[in-house]
Amino acid sequence: MPRLITFLSLALLLAIRAHGAELRGPAQVKAGSAFSLSSNGSGEATLYLVGPASVSKRKVQLGSGIPVEAGEIEHAGRYVAIVCSGGDCSSANFYVFASDASKLSLLVHPSRVRVATPNAISAVAFVFDKFHNLVLTPSDVEFRVTPQQGPALTHSQPSSNGVAWVRMTSATKEGPTKIGAAVADASELRVVRQVASDACNLRIKSEWVSGKLFVQTDPVRDCGGNNVPDGTVVSFTKTDEAGKTTVDAPIKRGIARVEMPVSGEARIDVASGVVTGNELNVAGAR
């Protein structure tokens, strides 16, 4: 039995030796760092280097170090190096991991948000190296919120698998807010426009002009005193003997105004979204 094992071992060794040059390399290499593969055997061979974004093929001399240029391993991932000589090929594989963090991709949503809305804004940062490889080792990403007025707020968040994210509540005052993220020397900036929330204390008044009744709102503001944006629709509803008539008007320069033909007594009320305002009782054409 021991003889058989020795015989089989020798046969296996011979088979391995006959298979061709053996190729060795490091298990992991940093992207863009030159290194050498080692090979045994002698004579000329063809080296193939196959990576996620590149394939190269060249003649090499066996028995000495085979240099791999920095430019050949810029992309992170698994590489296979193969040397073929006289019909026999052998291979080695290694991983290239990302270089240091130096680029950032920032997603901020939404671009327009109502004031004082909890967790309404999200910012997601993807951390890349200079070769656009996702940096998987944790990096501290600094998120910075700069409101139109007041001091900037910062929050540092370590990335996980190349991703760092935060969620924020929008400010109580309308206006643009800058949201940025930075890692190493790289930074990105986005702007989120914060707009007023629903109208609050919606009030209307009427006036007769040349025999026509005009109904208009006071300046429409939310409960925080922010101007509700122009274009927001305000609905005026007239109820009289003939039934109900609703006229929609967008806010222009802070107020909404409509002309409402009235004959006899009528009641006019106002609403914007789910908010209702005061009622007016008016009587016939003058």
Binding site: A27, Y48, V50, P52, A53
Partner: protein, 172 residues
Amino acid sequence: MRIALYIFTALCLFASLWSQEPADASLPKVVLAAENVGPRQIEELTSKSVPRDYAYAWKTMARALAENRSDLLDAYFTGFAKDNLARRIADQKRTGINTRYIDHGHKLEAIFYSPAGDAMQLRDRARVEIQLLDGGNVIHREQVNLQYLVLMTPGADRWLVRDLETTPEVHP
């Protein structure tokens, strides 16, 4: 006249069945686990479309690398993933190399789904046979378990692979 109509209808039906690509049968098997994803939970429809589109992406990539056709990448790849594969295909053409993937399936695990639903990061544990051919001769063949870190983003009607990076297997 009626018989002619019946024949015509039957022919149309046969032609439509014949022309349907047996897509599902030729797709690699992809299983998605989304129990531990955050901060956003995956919607039911998304939990079906992501593995489906990832399977199509792999099918497309395998064909593109086997036939050295970067035009195929447009359907399911974008961003860095598409750029990298296009570069590799250009190199393959230049050197006369082809890569053949025999796909034995993917276990996909969603690890990050952005709050706005505009990016999803996944880990893929794939079992594949890779063959490298130079001028039609196989110079390398291996059966491997590979781990990929994948970034997918929604397109107009499908999820696209934006980044695809092989990573060493990490044992917790």
